[in-house]
Amino acid sequence: MTLALLIQSMVIGLSLGSIYILMALGLTLMFGMMHIINFTHGAVYMLGAFVIYYFFGQWGVPYVLAFFLAMILLGAFGFVIERCIYRPIKGGIEPTLVALIAVTTFVQAIGYPVFGTLDKHVPTVFHGMYSILGVGISAERLMIIPIAIVLVLGLYLFINKTKMGAAMRAIEQDKEAAALQGVNVNVVNALAFGVGFALAAASGALMAPIFKLDPMMGEQPLLKAFIIIILGGLGSIPGAILGGLILGQIDSIVATLLGLEPAFLLSFVFIILLLLFKPTGLFGHEV
């Protein structure tokens, strides 16, 4: 592999990494605050993209408006799931897991009759091409980086500088103590679901013009996000960022060198080793 190819590969890896970070944000929040592996993350990502397809792609709503609509609608969906599924099950990890799997299966299956069977697309929002260190990168991919930064900052501020965020952190540390302090656990849980879903929808909405839309499009992002939060550590935002960047480089450089399957195998082996020797990931803390 020539040096030029390696550098180009790293640039691609950065582009991939930024996409992955975005995909991981919603999952990090829910994992960190509620210790739930949100299996519906992929399905919500897909729904966010389809909101863009209908509102922006078909009905002419301006993209920015449609983007916020996607976050709001799916945040509301998060409230619904918390109220109707998470709360009645009283938070047992395994039944919640099964229930979320059922919801995902349902949403993905219903996508085919409702959205149709052909792959869909959404018109490009940010036009233009740039050449970075010899690699052609489209403007829409580059835009992921600033938007991801904004969302990451927003999430960070929310968790660390707002009252609600403080409440979430309190519950994560010790649910009973927080309740004794007057924190309304149900409301905060609902909020965690809402924000987590909204973030998943946001990443789907951003990816919609870059890739294509189909009801199963959330599967890959779920898997990638999953790998990233393990790499980065439970609930750690810096961890998600670093994890995303690392995975982006693995998926790019190793794939260009050896092919895709070996690259994927490597990332799983990496996770296994990490889990065995430092389960809390790069930045996570003990649960």
């Binding site: 395994e94 996770i271 296994i272």
Partner: protein
């Protein structure tokens, strides 16, 4: 004692009914039942991990190892079925121990994540190792199962084999669960720190449960390989592993019969949806709804259904409002519900 005789008689009746069903049902039912029995084996063998409180979403990986090992031994080396089945199960156990041993320190979600990573890693290895497994082309030409040299050519015969395997494995698992070993596992599942403080070698027992589970998953895999006779790596994926877990939870986590009921119910359900004109287009959707409703309304699993139904009838029978207080203490509730084992 009387209750035990009744139980055994009931079981014998069910077994007889199954045998009759297989004998008369023809290829269609033989095929379905054989797969149901395989799923029961998978779900019940996973239960051992669940007893120990481990969230194990990796069972399909060991099924895969068992399947491919047995298939390759039989196809490429002419090993007779009984031995290739054993070989598959043993290799699955070895792989399970190799992977399980370092992972046992992990708890809860972390353990779950490592099992998922195992499933994907094994799937990818099988896919990449094309020269051995034919990778994504699929491994075909797997010989049919045979016993003592006699090939089981018909689906019906193969179904009897599956039934036999299932019954033997369930007996073993039952004995294990209701033995001292089972008690130790359950104590680990409920409070492993406490068990540890009492001198129980928690890690060793967890590994034992995991390894035995892998062995039977390997058996199920080997049978599957010689029954369907076509192996395709994505078959043994994360989705299948979660399905096996779902069988346990929908059936009921608290009882030995839970995975059996869950596996039987959820294996048969798609076939019912497939049969009805109305639901055929939307099989997957109905399946997901059924899963969801069961989790929401029967949190203890399907196993609790008879209990709840009889409660319902009992409450109807007591039409006279009782003088009991409306807020009951736990002690009172247990007393009213009677013997929870039914």
């Amino acid at each position: 004692m009387k209750s035990k005789i009744r139980t055994v008689t009931l079981l014998a009746v069910v077994l007889l009914a199954l045998l009759l069903f297989i004998a008369l049902g023809g290829n269609y039912y033989a095929h379905l039942l054989a797969l149901v029995f395989t799923n029961v084996i998978l779900a019940s063998s996973l239960r051992l991990s669940i007893l120990c409180g481990q969230l194990n979403i990796g069972h399909s990986a060991f099924m895969s190892v068992g399947a491919y090992t047995s298939a390759l031994l039989a196809k490429n080396l002419g090993v007779p079925f009984e031995l290739s089945l054993l070989g598959g199960a043993l290799l699955a156990t070895v792989v399970g121990i190799v992977m399980g041993y370092p992972s046992l320190r992990l708890r809860g979600v972390y353990f779950a994540m490592v099992t998922v990573a195992f499933v994907e890693a094994i799937r990818l290895i099988v896919q990449i190792w094309v020269s051995l497994t034919r990778g994504m082309s699929g491994l075909s030409g797997i010989p049919k199962p045979s016993l003592l040299g006699m090939v089981l050519t018909t689906k019906t015969d193969q179904c009897y084999l599956a039934l036999g395997l299932m019954v033997v494995i369930l007996l073993i698992l039952y004995k294990l669960e209701y033995s001292r070993l089972g008690l130790i596992w359950k104590s680990i599942g409920m409070a492993d720190n406490l068990a540890l403080s009492l001198g129980v070698n928690v890690a060793a027992y967890k590994l034992l449960a995991f390894a035995i589970g892998c062995f039977f998953a390997g058996v199920a895999g080997a049978f599957y390989a010689h029954f369907v006779r076509f192996l395709f790596p994505p078959t043994f994926d994360f989705l299948m592993a979660t399905n096996i877990l779902v069988y346990n939870y929908v059936g009921g986590r608290g009882h030995f019969w839970g995975p059996i009921v869950g596996a039987a119910f959820l294996s048969w359900l798609p076939e019912i949806f497939r049969g009805s004109e109305a639901t055929r287009q939307y099989e997957t959707i109905f399946f997901a709804i059924t899963m969801l409703l069961t989790i929401l309304f029967l949190p203890g699993g399907l196993i609790t259904l008879p209990g709840k139904l009889s409660d319902l009838f009992r409450r109807r029978a007591e039409s006279v409002p009782s003088s009991a207080p409306t807020v009951m203490t736990p002690g009172q509730r247990v007393a009213i519900q009677g013997n929870p084992k039914g």
